[in-house]
């Protein structure tokens, strides 16, 4: 379908982009990879008068090492994130999640920041970002602020990014040497997850006597935002890496969640899936 007519600017600096945002206000929409915005425009669910394209702002692209964290530029395409060695080494959970995100075409155009800013509760990047305790760097006319993952996701399609602000980068504290698994449950390969579990764990001890030292678990599509399965995390710490121990802890995965009901499953089924997928994700992340 054909979108309604709009005007288009492609600034080359964050400052210019912010200025454009300030100028056009709520008549404007930012476009990153366009993989969520373009369908909205084509179906005429929205008809902004201005499209501000971040695609020419070089400073928003790429992954860099920043001491105890890695920093992913908002405009870094999924495919780059998925194959980046820093991500693989220090935030492998993100790499695992990107691997099964959409299809190759979408992964080439869609961006890390765009997906997080879009805040679809079925999006694959929210749960890993939350589990890893990412920090979101947001630029506005008054300067730059940093928002913790726990405060970033506000509601369905709603984040802490203000109308006149731009997400510039995401800082992810290094979790080097942690095991990670993203268990995505779909009916066909190119689908958004019905439920997914992002688990990353640090295991201590020798073979045969391994225990969970730390665990961080995020849930996708179990509520209107990505969620942490804190009850499971707490129950795991200090437990041996065994099927039984993980099963007991994972049974708590649906605690405090509020999953949707739709064509692919009702809320009860999703709660059940969350426990099974959490068990599998944790065991796999622990290398068990």
């Amino acid at each position: 379908m054909i979108p309604a007519a709009f005007d288009y600017v492609a600034p080359t600096t964050v400052e210019d982009a912010l200025a454009a945002l300030a100028q056009y206000g709520d008549e404007a929409k930012i476009i990153a990879g366009g993989q969520s915005l373009l369908p909205v425009l084509r179906m005429r669910l929205n008809a902004p008068e201005w499209i501000i394209d971040l695609g020419r702002i070089e400073s928003l692209r790429g992954v860099r090492d920043d001491g105890d964290a890695i920093v992913i530029g908002a405009m870094t395409p999924h495919v780059v994130v998925g194959s980046d060695p820093l991500v693989a080494e220090h935030a492998s959970l993100v790499a695992k999640a990107v691997e099964h995100l959409a299809d190759a075409q979408v992964r080439h155009r869609g961006t890390f920041g765009g997906a997080l800013a879009h805040a679809d509760p079925a999006g694959d990047l929210g749960a890993p970002a939350l589990a890893l305790g990412a920090e979101f760097v947001i630029a506005g006319s008054g300067g730059t602020r940093t928002v913790a993952a726990d405060d970033f996701f506000v509601d369905l399609f709603e984040t802490a990014i203000g109308e006149d602000e731009i997400l510039t980068e995401v800082r992810i504290p290094k979790r080097t040497g942690w095991g990670a698994t993203y268990e995505k449950f779909v009916r066909v390969a190119h689908q958004w997850p019905i439920v997914a579990v992002a688990a990353t764990v640090r295991v201590e001890g020798q073979a045969g006597d391994r225990v969970f030292a730390e665990a961080r678990i995020g849930l996708t599509n179990m509520g209107s935002t990505p969620l942490r399965a804190r009850a499971v995390e707490d129950a795991l710490v200090g437990q041996p890496v065994t099927d039984d121990a993980v099963r007991t802890a994972a049974a708590l995965a649906a605690d405090g969640t509020n999953p949707p009901s739709d064509l692919n499953g009702d809320a009860d089924y999703r709660r059940h899936l969350a426990t099974v997928l959490t068990r599998r994700a944790v065991l796999d992340a622990a290398g068990a």
């Binding site: 005429r44 929205n46 008809a47 009916r187 066909v188 190119h190 958004w192 739709d262």
Partner: protein, 831 residues
């Protein structure tokens, strides 16, 4: 560069049976071709449709002033502006004399009967401007209660068309006792209740969407004398006939062209409101117009398929010998009776008994009107529904008996030495060998090993269970003997037409009335003609799809092109040879009786004298030296009416793994051995089988058109209507046995629908088989993980699908002010 292979030095190698790569693929794949939407005519205007967001409503007013004032808008027209000038959308197959058929205007002026129905058309200089203006058309509706659920609609709780007084359109019955083709089924069932086995089941055939790759598109060019319509249709000839019949334009003034068409699967076997509106607008304005639908419009308003409830009763003796089959169907027509409409379930009526020797059979279908998109043919049309029912039932009978499902099939099927066999439905199966196909399939599958693994997994209580599903199907294809269609009150015949033109410079033009839309006719028909006339494959050009070039034809559907159209072609080619023979004799100064034709050459028996058929074509063109009284032409045509259907069959075996913890299913192995008679092009056949299998598997596992309580199509984009991709399927093992059909010269049988017809029950049988020991005997299609998990963990077949879609896109404040039909709850990326 050419996509076809080099011709080997051994030029007498037979073309038929060769793995020719398709001639047409290079242009289709690279896009260097004509699709309807590519056509650009001078001064052409563009249309956008305004569609009802409501399933059932009275139109109280349509305000078009703002839209008319919008940039570059030429006009905005409603049903009221047109009246009878619009013509009507026809149903060609009233299945009973008293069928209740609602009048179907392409653009109703007073009342809409499904969400997506067109209420106004905007005509503008560009497609974007037409779309913009469509947002400005203000339509006021008074919503009416909508008939949505099939069973409740059959009870006339709410009427889809209040003026008709009922939703029940037609009741079509076949009874073997009445027809004299078998016994009384109620007696058989009563007897089985006392001393035999009765299997009673109710199965749901969910609603599917054909989802062809190329959206529908139409261009109308009203030149002074003649009107030309290009349409992405499967049926240019039928469209032409219907335009003449309903719009008052003489047929001789109408030219319909189906250029390259990107798939149909039955979904383009239709005469559509969009075509009729474009026609009326083009005529009224005297300008060329184009309309191309969006994917959302396509999913919502192009016809859907299947959608039945099947109540089934199978009677058998204690040893598993079947004694009777009773089939009671409810079939959802949607809001209107489409061109084939209620004929689709009737096409299945002859197939429920399938390959089994039922002594008694009763079939009844009640067609029902609802306020949903209309339904019509979708790959297999009636036969997948029938095959699903019987193949599920035979597996249930086996489970009841505690025997292997292949055993109970073998006990009841027609043995190869029993052909020709007249079935309880009154069809004469000419040939087949179910034993051979099954034996080969079992071997390819490793049947015994997989059964052993299944037992081991059950014994160990593995969380992943294995199931084996069987489908020993047959189908009737090659639609159809005209006489049979006449007996069934179908509005046309089932013949096909072909012409062979021998060009002066040695090449050959072949014209077929079977209008291809992705099947590979150009290649397969070239192979047939190359063999028949002894000319190189490359020298044959196949023309089709333009009623001015191919003036007679009944188009492509129902696995008919090769078995009916191919036979017409054989007959036309043979006529060429017959016409050329006296000329050859004359030129070779021999008696006609001494002339032989072989491998493209006429020769004088017992001599080395001869002339190529292409030389004769040249001589005929010059016409300098022809025998007295012989016309200077060896071009020929033939119209062929089949004497019988033909009956491909096969054995499909499927192994599915079921994750009992989540309900997820995974295909492990799929083997099919299809007997489709002689094969013209094995590569094309493989393509048809693979594609067909995936479509059938998709019904079993993924696809379902779901409406919510207000009649909005929830699965209104490819985010929610789950089409599989290559990533979701495995590599299939396909094989063949060959029992040539006796009803056509080439001994071929149809293959276009076989995979789709056979695979659905094979997959569901496998899924059920994997968890039968957990107390499951049915899972409703599509077998979603949720349904499988619920079936394992509770009573029932997993329940119906929740009528809600997950939005992945938010709608913003600055949205256009006209509600887009369906998008309220069906957001998706497939627009």
């Amino acid at each position: 560069m050419t996509a076809t292979q080099e011709r080997p030095s051994d030029a007498i190698e037979k073309e038929i049976g060769r793995d020719r790569r398709r001639k047409e693929d290079q242009r289709l794949i690279t896009g260097r071709t004509r699709w309807t939407d590519n056509i650009v005519l001078p001064g052409m205007l563009h249309l956008a449709m305004v569609r009802s967001p409501f399933a059932h409503a009275t139109i109280t007013s349509i305000e078009t002033a703002d839209a008319k004032a919008s940039t570059n808008v030429v006009d905005v027209l409603t049903g009221a502006d047109f009246g009878a000038e619009l013509g009507a959308i026809i149903n060609a197959w009233p299945i009973t004399p008293d069928q209740v058929t609602p009048a179907h205007s392409p653009m109703p002026a007073d009342r809409v009967a499904f969400a997506g129905e067109i209420v106004a058309v905007v005509i503008a200089r560009t497609a974007a401007e037409a779309r913009d203006a469509a947002e400005l058309v203000e339509v006021e509706y008074d919503e009416l209660p909508a008939a949505l659920d099939l069973k409740r609609s059959a009870a006339d709780e709410v009427l889809a068309h209040p003026d008709l007084g009922t939703n029940k359109s037609a009741l079509w019955v076949f009874d073997s006792a009445e027809a004299g083709t078998g016994g009384n089924v109620d007696e058989a069932i009563a007897k089985a209740r006392t001393d035999g086995i009765v299997i009673e089941r109710e199965y749901r055939q969910q609603r599917l969407i054909p989802a062809f790759m190329e959206p529908r598109s139409v261009v109308v060019d009203p030149t002074g004398e003649q009107y030309t319509m290009w349409s992405a249709t499967q049926i240019p000839h039928i469209v032409r006939f219907a335009l003449a019949a309903t719009t008052g334009v003489p047929e001789s003034k109408i030219r319909v062209i189906a250029p390259d068409v990107g798939g149909g699967f039955g979904g383009k076997l239709q005469v559509t409101p969009e075509e009729w509106i474009a026609w009326a607008v083009g005529r009224r304005l005297g300008k060329p117009v184009k309309y191309t639908e969006t994917r959302s419009e396509s999913l919502m308003s192009a016809h859907h398929g299947r959608d039945q409830w099947q109540k089934l009763t199978l009677a058998a003796e204690k040893d598993g010998t079947v004694t009777g089959l009773k089939v009671e169907l409810l079939a959802d027509l949607g809001a209107y009776v489409a061109i084939v409409g209620g004929g689709v379930p009737v096409l299945g009526a002859f197939m429920f008994n399938s390959i089994y020797k039922f002594p008694a059979y009763h079939f009844a279908v009640q067609t029902v009107l609802t306020n949903k998109a209309w339904t019509d043919a979708y790959r297999g049309a009636g036969r997948p529904e029938a095959t699903y029912a019987i193949e599920r039932l035979m597996s249930e009978l086996a489970a009841e008996l505690g025997v292997d499902p292949l055993e109970v099939r073998e006990k009841n099927w027609i043995k190869h030495e029993e052909f020709p066999f007249t079935t309880v439905a009154g069809l004469e199966y000419d040939s087949g060998n179910y034993e051979a196909a099954t034996a080969k399939a079992k071997e390819m599958f490793g049947y015994d090993e997989l059964r052993a693994e299944q037992m081991a997994r059950r014994a160990s209580g593995d969380t992943v269970q294995l199931g084996i599903g069987i489908s020993t199907f047959t189908e009737m294809c090659g639609l159809a003997p005209s006489r049979v269609l006449g007996q069934l009150d179908y509005g046309a015949g089932g013949w096909e037409h072909a012409e062979v033109r021998m060009l002066a410079t040695g090449t050959v033009e072949v014209i077929t009335g079977a209008s291809a839309h992705g099947q590979g006719h150009e290649t397969a028909f070239s192979q047939i003609v190359a063999d028949r006339l002894g000319v190189p494959f490359e020298s044959v050009e196949v023309l089709h799809g333009d009623t001015q070039v191919s003036h007679k034809g009944l188009d492509t559907y129902g696995s008919r092109s090769l078995v009916v159209g191919g036979e017409a072609l054989v007959k036309a080619a043979d006529k060429v040879v017959e016409k050329a023979k006296p000329i050859a004799a004359h030129l070779l100064e021999a008696s006609v009786d001494d002339i032989e034709f072989s491998q493209g050459r006429f020769s004088v028996r017992g001599t080395d004298q001869g002339l190529a058929i292409t030389d004769i074509a040249g001589a005929v063109f010059a016409a300098h030296n022809l025998p007295d009284g012989v016309e200077p032409s060896i071009d020929s045509e033939a119209t062929y009416d089949p004497v019988n259907f033909n009956y491909p069959h096969g054995t499909h075996l499927c192994a599915m793994e079921v994750d009992t913890e989540t309900g997820a299913v995974k295909m492990r192995k799929y083997v099919c051995v299809d007997d489709i008679g002689n094969i013209v092009n094995p590569l094309i056949v493989s393509g048809q089988v693979h594609g067909g299998l995936v479509q059938g598997i998709a019904q079993a596992l993924w696809e379902e058109a779901v409406y919510d309580d207000s009649g909005t199509l929830v699965s209104g984009s490819f985010v929610d209507y789950l089409l599989p991709t290559a990533a979701d399927t495995i590599s299939f093992d396909i094989g063949h046995t060959t029992t040539p059909s006796l009803t056509n010269t080439l001994g071929t049988k149809g293959v276009g629908e076989a995979g789709t017809i056979a695979s659905t029950p094979a997959v569901v049988n496998a899924v059920v088989d994997a968890v039968r020991h957990l107390g499951v005997d049915d899972i409703q299609m599509p077998c979603t993980p949720e349904r499988v998990w619920k079936a394992i963990n509770g009573p029932g077949s997993g329940g119906s699908t929740e009528g809600a879609a997950m939005p992945h896109f938010e709608s913003g404040g600055a949205a256009g002010n006209q509600e887009q039909p369906g998008t309220a709850s069906t957001d998706g990326a497939g627009s």
